[in-house]
Amino acid sequence: MLLIECPWCGPRDDQDFTYGGEAHIARPERPEKLSDEQWGDYLFMRSNPKGTHLERWVCNGCRRWFNVCRDTVTDEITAVYRMGEKPPGAIKKAGRKS
């Protein structure tokens, strides 16, 4: 069991949350300008790091989305921050080939 800190509700059991995949993936401004490969990359390709991962969760109590920084090896959660906010300074988004 994970204890996840909702930015509004405080710490709650992981049963009270739903996982929403990798965070900070912006929808391209002009999809029609993209190649199929670029569009496919946006839709389907995700980083799968061993270690620090920035991801989205939704709280089923207050029904708000927020961001979580979780270590995929230890499940340790090192930061929780609201939608629209940047990850705390020291944390870098893990290895995605650009």
Binding site: C9, Q15, D16, R63, R64
Partner: protein
Amino acid sequence: MPEKYQWQSALATLGLEARALAPVAEPGVTLSERRVGTQLVIRGDAAEAEFAAGVSSVLGLDLPTEPKTAHRKGDRTLLWLGPDEWLAVVAGEGEDRLAVSLAEALVDLHHAIADVSHSRAVIGLEGPRAREVLMKGTNVDLHPRVFAEGSCVQAHLGRCHMLLHQLDAAPRYDIYVHRSFAVYAWSWLSDASREYGLSIASSGAVR
């Protein structure tokens, strides 16, 4: 929205009024149905002073901005659902104009009001063992240190969603469940209460 005279309790099939005629002596837990007149979901920006003032001028209650808290006065309750979302509950009849009054008070402000009066049934749970009954069915920490009079939370009870509101330290709780889950929730609570001595009280308004 059905006409008032057509309104029927979601728990009507259980014959609760008849069962309330045979109260149990010194019950550990008492269950009852709460009658609710109007329920409104109100959305807006709590940081906007005019929004908070507008809501409280109509309802006579301050807007709870602290997460998981509710304000209550007389037959009115205002519960925090999220950082920009609240549930207003008024027990009495004749509150049909409440949504209109709110819309008028908030007319130039970013807001939304939805009448959800028939969406939820409310079950009253009280007695010295009431907290233990809830603890069997929810993962929420109900210790008085973190969940006390004026606390509310959206969580699970058994397999259904609930909005739980603690009214006082007795403890007394109001449990809001979606209407189609009302019989399930009542059955679950009755079953969980049986070992403590369960009494059923006549239905009353949300207090």
